[in-house]
């Protein structure tokens, strides 16, 4: 409760700052959801495609890396997906506010995987990840002191 008009003005300034902070927090949350869904839905064989889901702050990561745990016929699926998620989470934590979080994958066949023309698995997982993030964020309740779980 503001004591007088001046302190009310101060509270408004703080509220705006807190709002920016909260917006950053929501963005991190969105990025985490997107990474989770992408990693879980990417078709897997050697785990190269799934390992290449990488997070960049303010600029996309365009480099292609070898699989975290090379395998065959999903033999290293659990290890690589877990490592991909861990690395992404670590990077997402670095983000504060006023910027962009990029979730990128630049293996040459990722578009084909997403289009469903390479793998037998269901296609459109990138769009599905974005939609999942949107749906989950719609249910987020926000107050100025932070996020409340959906």
């Amino acid at each position: 409760m503001a004591r007088d008009l001046r302190s009310l003005a101060g509270r408004m300034r703080k509220l705006n700052r807190r709002l920016e902070f909260t917006a950053g927090k929501i963005t991190r949350e969105a990025a985490s959801i997107v990474v989770d869904v992408l990693v879980d839905r990417t078709p897997i064989d050697t785990t190269k495609a799934v390992s290449n889901w990488q997070v960049g702050i303010n600029r996309p990561v365009r480099t292609i890396i070898p699989p975290h745990f090379p395998g065959k016929l999903k033999s290293t699926e659990y290890a690589s997906t877990r490592e991909t998620k861990n690395l992404a989470e670590e990077k997402i934590k670095e983000y504060v506010k006023h910027g962009v979080i990029y979730v990128s994958n630049h293996v040459p066949y990722i578009q084909g995987l997403n289009n469903g023309t390479i793998s037998a698995q269901a296609s459109g997982f990138v769009e599905a990840a974005v939609v999942s993030a949107q749906l989950r964020l719609q249910n987020l309740k926000i107050n100025v002191s932070g996020l409340v779980a959906p």
Partner: protein
């Protein structure tokens, strides 16, 4: 090489309107805070109490001086002649002094009530003095001052503070090669940035000072950087950081290293200008800022008016002269004739004090009215009349100009105040003042009840402030009158002490007796008059206060009624506007719905097109019909990203349609098969009947003619018959003929059987391949789009059946049909041959019989 990867970007964007609203609340709170304080200051500073408060102690001091003078007179009143001369001189000097005092009172009134006027002159002078040091010549000085006034009015900042900042920036930046325009832009940008950040006057002054110091020493660090970080908007720090290519957090360290130089600051503020101009354009002036601008304009107006400047000098000279006269007055009072002074004081000082008060009142009325009107006019386009900010004061002026003009006339013309200004006694003064208050409040009520829409609650506060002012004014007049009386009493006591009281009488001197007699008589009269005056003053003040309160209450009630009417009208207008908006929204919704329908139509067309392409592709790859259709559905699902529910609906619909389609296909095939079976059965029946007929005829011929023929051939006459025919060979020939006939019949049947066997097979194969071809043949290209159309529309079974009819050709290949026709022809020929043989045997039978069995036989 172009990247073919995937980048998903997520950024935190807060809806700008939310932040703006929160900012606006903060700024409004600050502005309101300042407004409340400035109102308090205004009420205090505008109070005429200051005038009367200054005047009354002055009169007390005058009385005390007279008292001291009266004590000193014992020493100096040695000569009546000298006294008489001194008396005359004193009288003249006193009148002169009173004229000075009158001037003092007038000035005091101006200073008290119109402090802004003198302040404006003072500010202008200070402004000019500051800028003289950084400009060359009067012309440049005038140009810079005009630009600074424009910037101050644009940024709603006090001009003196702005000029001080400009002076500092100019000294620093001109050394770095900056032009005068760049310095002006620099000053404007920082002033706007601070205004956007909602900085208080103190914070603004502090930041401008610190920035000036930073520019002077060549880099921004330490205390200056801290002040800027705390009070300037974040955009300023971001601009500095951008120039240096770092983030805001690193500025402190770079400042410590001395890297935030003057050139960095210049570049940052150049970069910042566009953003700040844009953001500042979105801010609205507050009422207190409107008065800041009014102050700037008053300063400019009064400062630039040479006549006013001359008046100021004359007034200043008057003050100095009057002040110089005070010691002279005291010195002259030390002469004789104090009684005469008292008498003159009785009639003169009172009048003069009232004149001072009246002048104060007049000035107050005019200055207050002018301030209000000036503020309104200066900000007519910026001040918003209605809460929805759709109507400006200028609009209201146009509507209510007639009333406003009348109000202005009521306030500014002197006629209503003539009685007041010419009143000599306190009672007259109060009566006149009450009348004027009545006129004033009535004028305000009539004229301002329209204008009040402009000010809203601010106007109520102003009127309340004026009410307090009036009450203070009356009260102070009463106190002043009290003090005036007290001062006269002090003088009276002193005179009594001098001329006949307990003190040593001054006798034997020329004129003393006269003075004593006159004074004694006057003292008594004065005492009574003073008492009456005191009582009347108190009574009048009380009555005036009551009447003023009454008038203001009345005015407030009228205003309240007007506000209520205005509020009701506003509510009605808002409701009408809301209804209009509702209707507009409904129209918009309808339009949007229409657009959605069109989009949906377009999307469906795209879907059909894409599905057809898919189906064509699938057909080309010889996929089954179900796969073809499923390909279409999958394509639709992927392209349009429809929800699972919708996709399920499509699948259900497709299944239903397919089922109906296949039912139609199955029914047709079944029907065609049945028809073909009937045709073949009919053909076979005909063939069978024909063969049966032939064989039956043959049997009949043989049964009728066989015995005689056999007897003829095999009987006693047989050999001769045969020999006639050709010897024994005839019998052999007859036997051979019969055998050949039998053989021919058997072979014919076998031939027929052999002939029909492949026909049956061909027909059977034709059914199978025909149906298969119907599914995979080019006719399906026609069927495909139709089938897809059925996904969206109802099925036209006739058309579908027509398609299948077109496929009929494929069901019975031409060679098969020809084979059947050939078979029929062959059978017909065979039948004809057999019939000929029968006829031949019938016609030749008797001759043969006769030949064989007759006498010759």
């Amino acid at each position: 090489m172009a990247t073919i990867g995937i980048d998903i970007a997520m950024r935190d964007r807060i809806q700008k309107s939310i932040q703006t609203q929160i900012d606006a609340i903060g700024r409004s709170a600050l502005a309101s805070d300042r407004h409340v304080k400035s109102l308090q200051v205004s009420v205090n500073s505008l109070g005429v109490a200051t005038v009367t408060g200054r005047l009354a102690p002055g009169l007390v001091r005058t009385g005390q001086a007279a008292d001291r003078a009266s004590r000193s007179v014992k020493t100096y009143a040695a000569s009546a002649r000298t006294a008489a001369v001194a008396n005359r001189n004193l009288y003249n000097s006193t009148l002169e002094t009173f004229r000075g005092l009158r001037t003092i009172a007038s000035i005091a009134a101006v200073i008290g009530a119109g402090r802004g006027f003198v302040g404006a002159l003072d500010t202008y002078q200070q402004l000019e003095n500051r800028l003289k040091s950084i400009t060359d010549g009067h012309e440049q000085l005038g140009a810079v001052m005009r630009k600074l006034f424009n910037i101050a009015n644009e940024t709603r900042t006090p001009v003196l503070g702005l000029a001080t900042a400009y002076q500092r920036y100019d000294k620093a930046l001109s050394r770095a090669g900056a032009s005068q325009q760049e310095v002006l832009d620099f000053t404007t940008t920082i002033a706007k940035a601070l205004k956007i950040a909602g900085a208080t006057a103190t914070e603004t002054e502090s930041v401008m000072l610190q920035l000036g110091q930073a520019l002077t020493k060549g880099n921004l660090d330490g205390e200056e950087l801290r002040a800027l970080r705390e009070n300037a908007p974040i955009e300023v720090m971001e601009a500095l950081a951008n120039v240096l290519g770092v983030n805001v957090g690193q500025l402190k360290e770079l400042g410590r290293q001395g890297l935030i130089t003057t050139s960095v600051m210049r570049q940052a503020f150049r970069d910042l200008k566009i953003t700040v101009d844009r953001d500042f354009a979105q801010t609205l002036p507050t009422v207190s800022e409107a008065f800041v601008v009014l102050g700037n304009k008053l300063t400019q107006f009064f400062g630039e008016n040479e006549r006013v400047r001359a008046s100021m000098k004359a007034l200043a000279a008057g003050i100095i002269n009057a002040a110089n006269n005070v010691p002279d007055l005291i010195r002259k009072l030390q002469g004789l004739g104090a009684a005469m002074l008292v008498m003159k004081l009785q009639s003169g000082a009172l009048k003069i004090s009232l004149v001072g008060l009246i002048t104060a009142f007049r000035t107050l009325a005019i200055v207050t009215g002018a301030a209000l009107v000036g503020g309104l006019v200066a900000y007519r386009n910026e001040l918003k009349v209605t809460e929805d900010e759709m109507v400006t004061f200028a609009d209201a002026i146009k509507t209510h100009w007639t009333l406003l003009k009348k109000f202005l006339e009521d306030i500014t013309i002197e006629t209503p105040a003539e009685d007041l200004f010419s009143s000599d006694t306190a009672s007259e003064f109060f009566r006149a003042s009450v009348e004027l208050v009545k006129k004033f409040t009535v004028a305000m009520t009539i004229g301002f009840n329209k204008v009040s829409k402009v000010f809203g609650s601010a106007f109520v506060e102003v009127v309340q402030g004026m009410q307090i002012l009036w009450l203070k004014f009356v009260n102070n007049v009463r106190i002043g009158a009290d003090e005036l009386v007290t001062s006269f009493q002090i003088v009276r006591n002193s005179v009594r002490e001098l001329f006949g009281g307990e003190s040593t009488p001054v006798t034997g001197l020329i004129g003393t007796a006269f003075a004593v007699d006159t004074t004694k008589a006057e003292i008594g009269r004065l005492e009574r008059n003073l008492e009456i005056f005191r009582k009347k003053t108190k009574q009048s003040a009380k009555e005036a206060a009551e009447e003023i309160n009454f008038e203001f209450d009345l005015a407030f009630k009228l205003l309240e009624g007007q506000y209520r009417a205005t509020a009701d009208a506003r509510v009605a207008a808002e409701e009408a506007a809301a209804e209009k908006i509702l209707k507009a929204n409904q129209t918009l919704r309808l339009k949007n719905r229409q657009k959605e329908i069109e989009d949906e139509q377009f999307r469906r067309e795209r879907f059909i097109q894409a599905s057809n392409e898919r189906i064509q592709d699938a057909i080309g790859k010889n996929k089954t019909l179900v796969e073809v259709v499923r390909a279409g559905i999958v394509e639709e699902d992927r392209i349009n990203q429809i929800s699972n529910q919708k996709r399920r609906e499509y699948e259900r619909e497709t299944s239903r349609v397919l089922k109906e389609e296949w039912n139609a296909v199955a029914t047709y095939i079944e029907e065609r098969t049945r028809q073909m079976v009937e045709v073949v059965r009919s053909l076979l029946t005909q063939i069978s009947n024909a063969i049966s007929g032939i064989l039956s005829s043959l049997g009949s011929i043989l049964s009728q003619n066989g015995l005689p023929l056999s007897a003829a051939l095999l009987g006693p006459g047989g050999p001769s018959f045969l020999s006639k025919l050709g010897g024994t060979g005839v019998a052999a020939q007859g036997s051979a003929f019969a055998g050949s006939l039998l053989n021919a019949g058997s072979a014919g049947l076998q031939g027929i059987q052999n002939y029909f066997s492949p026909i049956t097979n061909i027909v059977s194969d034709a059914f199978t391949s025909g149906i298969q071809q119907a599914i995979r043949s080019p006719q399906l290209e026609t069927l495909g789009p139709e089938l897809q159309q059925t996904l969206e529309r109802s099925i036209n079974k006739d058309d579908l059946a027509g398609s299948f009819r077109a496929a009929q050709v494929s069901i019975l290949p031409p060679e098969t049909a020809q084979g059947i026709r050939d078979a029929q022809l062959g059978i017909d020929n065979l039948s004809s041959s057999l019939q000929g043989m029968y006829n031949l045997s019938r016609s030749n039978g008797p001759a043969i019989e006769n030949a064989v069995c007759g006498p010759g036989g």
